[in-house]
Symmetry: C2
Subunit: 199 residues, 2 copies
DNA sequence: TCGATGTGCAACTCTGGTGTCGCAGTTACA
DNA sequence: TGTAACTGCGACACCAGAGTTGCACATCGA
């Protein structure tokens, strides 16, 4: 995007500023999505003008946040081996990273631009594999993906003391297990009480 | 809210204006939630100043939209007899009205203020009854309600030509059936392939 | 019919946020 | 060590939208 032909070197501290701005933006906007740039600049310990130097406009900053998150999604999909690992295991692994991203990117997560076609396709392939493996019966991968994302959000919002999370010592694992179980059941794959291996 | 002690009669055409504004606001804001009041006034065929006469501020207008919807939710819950009818049947009926409201109040639906405690309580009672009747196994009504609302949203967004909606002649009924089936399964109540009566 | 109420119009103020600029001082880095 | 890059600061123009006002005209309703 910024790779001009101009021989304009980018200094290391400038890149650090960029990173600090993105970090601060995520933190501030998570609290108030309409927060002015000045608040972000303050949080980053920089002058507002500097924010404008790194990001030509507010929307450019938001785009950068979305792009950053999209990249981590893609990375997570790859690490979970959604295209090769046993699908339920891949789903479980992907879910844990998804929760981590939801926490670290509470704001960016709600930018539609962070759900790039690449990410959506990856999830659709996962649900197609789940279906082919017999783990679910719902035929349409897109529907599976929608249910998954919607419930991902709900499980993430669930208070830590919810009775639905009881049992697990590790809270993140408990959430992931609840989500996977619920989604598989919702898509007609798991009978109530039945345990998929690894849950 | 507006019932002052002042003996200030409210003329019939003024109430009509109020209604037109609410209607126009819903329509305009559904397209663009940040649309200026002027656009709403235009859509209502009124001057912007008149909007300000009926609603002292923008937020007052939004509150009115939310209150209006909340009332219809409550009405829907009552009509579905969530506290007395067989729970699955009540759920099905409530779902159909919920879809209708989602369409007619595309914007207001996303105002958190429209989900009053009264509405939430009603849904929680429904899920408690579903559990007591054995229709689901998930113990926590709040969790049931969350899953329901999240999937309500997804099913509503599902394109009309989705394979998941095939079969029914009536599209709304098909959506309601998909939602109820999915939620009951998700909450561990319905085995895949099994049919609840009336679906 | 008459008075109270509602409305259109056309201003105006006010607020808050965006984006730009120049300049002086600081920091990286070759 | 010198130069290019970066930053802070403070000012500025700009703009969109909210909310207000006064006045002439219309409309309701008892």
């Amino acid at each position: 995007m910024d790779d001009d032909a101009a021989p304009r070197r980018v200094r290391a501290d400038a890149e650090r500023s960029t990173a600090r701005i993105l970090e601060a933006a995520e933190a501030v906007l998570a609290e108030d999505e309409t927060a002015p740039l000045e608040r972000i600049a303050d949080a980053a310990g920089l002058a507002r003008a500097t924010v404008h130097r790194r990001f030509s406009s507010r929307t450019a900053l938001l785009d950068a946040l979305a792009a950053q998150l999209a990249q981590r999604y893609v990375q997570g999909l790859a690490e979970a081996r959604v295209d090769s690992a046993p699908p339920v295991a891949a789903m479980l692994r992907m879910t844990e990273t998804a929760f981590a991203l939801k926490i670290a990117h509470r704001f960016a997560v709600q930018l539609s631009a962070s759900m790039t076609p690449e990410v959506l396709d990856g999830l659709d392939r996962l649900f197609a594999r789940l279906r082919d493996a017999g783990a679910i019966t719902a035929p349409d991968p897109t529907w599976g993906r929608r249910v998954y994302l919607a419930l991902l959000h709900e499980v993430n919002d669930l208070p830590a003391d919810s009775p639905m999370l009881a049992g697990g010592s590790d809270e993140v694992a408990a959430r992931a297990a609840l989500l996977v179980t619920t989604v598989l059941q919702a898509l007609g794959g798991l009978r109530p009480g039945e345990q998929e291996e690894g849950l």
